[in-house]
């Protein structure tokens, strides 16, 4: 029996591995293509390779003053790009920070206390993640306009915090669930008040979860398109909205270069986040 199974098993393995490689190719080929195109000197048709250049990257930092064969009218100025990047980062940091605090507090409350509305809260916290972006976006738009709140970076932050808290909640809850509760009892037993216990025992234990939650929230905020689209208003623009506008105007190599930079940054942050989550206490 064993001899007959081995060739069959090898066929299965080969099939699976082949499929797996195709799967990974499907995921990464499009992204790899953008990277390649960003170095293509051809300003008209990115698919036709004419030569290697870093010009497109240069235009991001130095604008239309870079020497090269491209259409200056379709290039965004570095000032504009940096302003937009700065907006995105400011919003993401603030939104991620606030939602980390809120999400962690909520996770602690639901994990450490038994109370009447607990099940209700657990369901309620999942809702913002389940509601389609567009519904939430228009809901917030109507709300802000109706309440007379001016649309701008602040409304974006509020909108983001609303649904990011749920993401942080889920991540920190998972971490809390895996934590030994007698540690907190031991700390109290040894004379530490609730705040000291939280600071010296609970927080260090859940820290990977908290940081992971923060990074997750940060990235989601940075990349958010739909909700931000509705509540950004005229004066403020974030990076995704900026890219969206550029894409609507037509495909240009500068977008490709910018896209690659965004890609690299996302990869870096995501790697740190995923690495932290995989670490054991």
């Amino acid at each position: 029996m064993r001899g007959r199974r081995t060739p069959l098993r090898r066929v299965w393995s080969a099939l699976f591995n082949g499929y797996g490689l195709l799967f990974l190719a499907f995921l990464y080929l499009p992204l790899g293509l953008i990277v390649v195109y960003s170095f293509n000197a051809n300003p008209i048709n990115m698919a036709v390779w004419t030569g290697f250049t870093l010009d497109w990257y240069a235009t991001i930092f130095r604008g239309a003053s870079v020497e090269g064969n491209f259409d200056a009218a379709f290039t965004e100025s570095p000032e504009r790009i940096f302003a937009v990047v700065r907006n995105s980062f400011a919003v993401a940091l603030l939104a991620a920070g606030l939602s980390t605090v809120i999400g962690t507090a909520t996770a602690l409350a639901l994990a450490r206390f038994r109370f009447v509305g607990r099940r209700f809260y657990q369901a309620l916290l999942l809702l913002p993640m389940l509601v389609p972006d567009i519904v939430l976006g228009i809901a917030l738009l109507i709300f802000f306009v109706g309440a007379g709140i001016e649309l701008g970076l602040l409304t974006i932050v509020i909108g983001h915090v609303t649904f990011l808290s749920s993401y942080v909640f889920v991540v920190v809850s998972a971490r809390l669930a895996g934590m030994d509760t007698t540690l907190e009892q031991a700390s109290a037993d040894l004379g530490a008040g609730p705040i000291t216990t939280f600071r010296r025992i609970t927080l260090p234990q859940i820290m990977p979860g908290v940081v992971g939650g923060f990074l997750l929230a940060f990235i989601i905020s940075l990349d958010d398109v739909v909700i931000t689209y509705f509540i950004a208003g005229v004066g403020s623009q974030t990076l995704p909205l900026f890219v969206l506008a550029m894409m609507r105007r037509g495909l240009r190599p500068q977008i490709t270069a910018l896209a690659v930079l965004i890609l690299l940054f996302s990869f870096a942050v995501a790697s740190i986040g995923l690495f932290l989550r995989s670490r054991k206490p």
Partner: protein
């Protein structure tokens, strides 16, 4: 001189003079809600006066309330009724982190992100003790529990026995008024357990702190305690020294839980001072000794296996004899457990010394034997209900 050390966090200082009513548990009552049916009474009016400097064990089967009581003393749970008094003052509004008690947890609860020294010094840190003194006391304590030099290790790098000592050291370094131990030896293997039992007892003597120890192992309780409080179903069954609890169990539960017993139920039919004769429902007449019983009382007679002996057909005092037939003889090393059928469907168990001198007495299965005991070793308990004996 014993004084409670934690500076800002404790609520009073006292010198360690023995006082009446040191730690009083007064009619402790606690119930839990269950999803199906009525609430469960975890503690149902338990009153215990814990004495200063004693090794008190809370003994009972799982669910008897011993761990709940310990948690209430420590402050992790609230009492629903009754009170907890330390030196006459109620502890009910004092939160756990301000009570002058420390707990050794069943799973040790060592902080994994700190090393041994940091774990042991945690309570001192929290109390803002000066670093030099903290280090000195930590080193002293590690020495006392036999872990000198291991201060830099992480808990995960230690054996079970070592982790347990760290937990002990961490609690003792704070010089608590009472040390609470929640089945701390249950995770250790047998040899380690027996060694630790002796060590704990010695430690308690040398530091002079009251130990309240929770266990379900009656052997452990008997070995270590100054007094044992037997609990069942949220109620205190008996409290006394190990010999008191073993030789003179107050009721059937204690008789069965602490050690093994052969129980006979009957009525007192003759009384001559402390000497009583009990007649069972099957007509068996057995003598016993006890005070506080009168004619006609329903009683249970407790005979421990070690008090029964197999004798020759012509030996044994009248009224202290049970005739039967051997059903099993189990060799357990130093003794042989002999199970005998003594009629009316009853069986008794007795311990027969494994000794070549008694070789002529036949104890093979099927052999007829005469079992005898001394009347003074038969202990009487008031019966709660009549059962065939």
């Amino acid at each position: 001189m014993l004084y409670f050390h934690n500076s800002k966090k404790h609520w009073m200082r006292r010198r360690g003079v023995h006082r009446l009513g040191f730690l009083q548990i007064a009619t402790a009552y606690k119930e839990y809600q269950t999803p199906e049916g009525p609430p469960v009474k975890a503690l149902n009016g338990v009153s215990i006066d814990v004495r200063n400097n004693e090794f008190l064990t809370l003994l009972g089967p799982s669910g008897c309330g011993k761990t709940t009581l310990l948690k209430c003393i420590a402050g992790f749970e609230d009492l629903d009724g009754g009170d907890l008094l330390l030196d006459g003052l109620s502890l009910r509004s004092v939160p756990a982190h301000r009570r002058p008690f420390n707990t050794v947890f069943q799973n040790y609860a060592l902080f994994p992100h700190m090393n041994v020294s940091q774990n042991v010094g945690y309570g001192l840190d929290v109390a803002r003790v000066a670093r030099a003194e903290r280090d000195r006391r930590v080193a002293e304590m590690l020495e006392m529990v036999g872990l000198a030099g291991l201060g830099g290790r992480r808990p995960s790098q230690l054996s079970g026995g070592q982790q347990q000592r760290v937990a002990l050291a961490r609690s003792l370094v704070l010089k608590p008024r009472v040390l609470l131990l929640d089945e701390p030896l249950s995770a250790l293997d047998r040899k380690m357990r027996e060694a630790m039992q002796i060590e704990l007892k010695t430690l308690q003597h040398s530091v002079g702190i009251t130990f309240v120890f929770v266990t379900h192992d009656q052997g452990e309780a008997l070995a270590m305690s100054d007094r044992i409080a037997v609990l069942a179903q949220g109620r205190l069954q008996q409290i006394g020294t190990p010999t008191e609890v073993y030789d003179r169990p107050a009721n059937e539960f204690v008789a069965n839980f602490v050690g093994t017993s052969n129980l006979f139920t009957g009525r007192v039919i003759a009384q001559d001072g402390p000497d009583l004769t009990v007649e069972t429902a099957n007509g068996r007449r057995l003598r016993a000794q006890g005070t506080g019983f009168s004619m006609g009382d329903a009683v249970r007679l407790v005979l421990r296996p070690e008090h029964l002996a197999i004798v020759a057909p012509d030996q044994g005092q009248p009224g202290c004899i049970i005739d039967g037939r051997v059903t099993d003889a189990v060799f357990v090393g130093s003794v042989i457990q002999v199970h005998a059928d003594v009629g009316f469907g009853r069986r008794v168990m007795l311990l027969h010394p494994h000794d070549s001198r008694n070789a002529q007495l036949d104890i093979a299965p099927g052999a007829a034997v005469r079992i005898a005991y001394a009347p003074a070793s038969a202990h009487l308990i008031a019966a709660e209900g009549g059962l065939a004996g």
